[in-house]
Symmetry: C2
Subunit: 337 residues, 2 copies
Amino acid sequence: MSVHDAVDMRAMLAELPVGDAAAAAAVTAREAELTKPRGALGRLEELTAWLARWQGRSTPRLERVRVAVFAANHGVAARGVSAYPASVTAQMVANFEAGGAAVCRLAEVAGAELHVHALELDAPTGDVTRADALDAAGFARAVAVGAAAVPAGLDLLAVGEMGIANTTVAAALAAALTGGSGRDWVGRGTGVDDEGLARKAAAVDAALARHADADDPLEALRRLGGRELVAMAAAIVAARHRRVPVLIDGFVASAAALALVRRRADALDHCRLAHLSAETGHRRLAEALGLKPLLALDMRLGEASGAALAIPLVRAALACHLGMATFGEAAVDDRSG
Amino acid sequence: MSVHDAVDMRAMLAELPVGDAAAAAAVTAREAELTKPRGALGRLEELTAWLARWQGRSTPRLERVRVAVFAANHGVAARGVSAYPASVTAQMVANFEAGGAAVCRLAEVAGAELHVHALELDAPTGDVTRADALDAAGFARAVAVGAAAVPAGLDLLAVGEMGIANTTVAAALAAALTGGSGRDWVGRGTGVDDEGLARKAAAVDAALARHADADDPLEALRRLGGRELVAMAAAIVAARHRRVPVLIDGFVASAAALALVRRRADALDHCRLAHLSAETGHRRLAEALGLKPLLALDMRLGEASGAALAIPLVRAALACHLGMATFGEAAVDDRSG
């Protein structure tokens, strides 16, 4: 199935390619020959096998690595759930484009191309406490943006977001998909104060009550998510079809991914969780995803910063795999005797 | 005091430079102006302030970064405590020099120069179960090698080791300095089997009994450590004198560092622990150092691999600090209102 032929999320999820077990096995076999005790590079070895499996290459490559940041606005921002006004979303998109944001520098250090996708910033989604975030057409447009963000030929994709108030909708989506109340799932996001945190929990509770009848994870994503969450989910699925492994960023990206894995248990097999955010609830969300974070550095920025920061780890893993000598080449004894 | 004038460890430890609080404060003040919520880059922000404090520069730099690997052999290797024969130490040193080892690739990815220091490989230290590892002259020679490995002008130093059987002596040193028995401190190292693990614990217990009267951490280091542990400790202290921040590698490097911090509580203030090794006991050892690891990727290779892998994180932190726009430059609203 071509990604361009079908940007319908349900259709894309219905036919997910499986990984290339032979490519992964070839990598694992080579790892055993390299001049180190077996398994001594820990999760780096697993990362290389993961690249092989999902790129479908027994010799993985990282020539073209992309960081994709999806930005959108949210009706619920009017409820005072963020430390920043909604106008900051567009300002930060301009900052991304001008090269002044953290992710610009992190992508540069990672040797990755940065693409920013601003989704109808002038049209915030519906206020989830009293309406659907998106109608079917708006959902489809966001899916199309996400799917189009993954061209053929990428070797790795890092996915993240920017959107004032989006930790609120992410908390609501996570609660809707896994249980719990607003208090269980909200955190301080960009730094909201105690009163704002209480408003945030109340907004999540109101959203949960309003959308209690959403009986499917993708319906929950449409009604409770936002344009950038939908686009991230679509990008993740499109990457699977294009054989591109994905690094998932923090709390908001994880909530979007959760809708996928709740719809289909193997939907995130081509993904790794880049980092554990300091945002309340991300640990629980990571467990719900079944993914163990690669980094845990108390970051809580979003904008794909954690995913971009994990790229050098993947590069390091591949560099070891491709560039180390074997026991035979180096004339190093493999085990005693 | 010049490092070259005094390679006596006690003398070097007696007069430790303090950090540059003004430089660190300048970095922290700039961080607050950058286009992100305050503190949102988590430990990356702390890393930049750490560079500033210990380089003594309000604008830190990472132009010259070195990975130093110290290699040595150990008399206790004859007790069957390792999965590999002692001959592998020299073979791996050749592999480091030929560019075939993991740390070669990791240093390259990190943009760091790799220096390997082989310490009298043909003269293993005394078997710690029945003798001192080093006499005073051997200790002094290893200190000199470590101190000389830190030239003026380095901006960051990553410190690690290679030495068959050195997790055994590291476990013995850790136990001597913090309490506990062989079983509490030994792990599988490069992959020793159950019988080897039992021999390892017994060797540690024998060493603890033999050296129970070592009444000073540096005496414990001389009697229980090895040439590479002594050299790492000396390099760490020399780096302090030369205003070079240090990334400490895994279990063995941490044991060497522990001797310093037990001698003087502020001895490791210029250091960060790069990673948490999969080796049993490293978590407890990290707590004894008072250092929180930057990475935890189930690695257990040594050879400064974890320290080298952390360098890109430090580079990323500095790149954000130096290259991000301020709120004013980017015309992004700082907080609501």
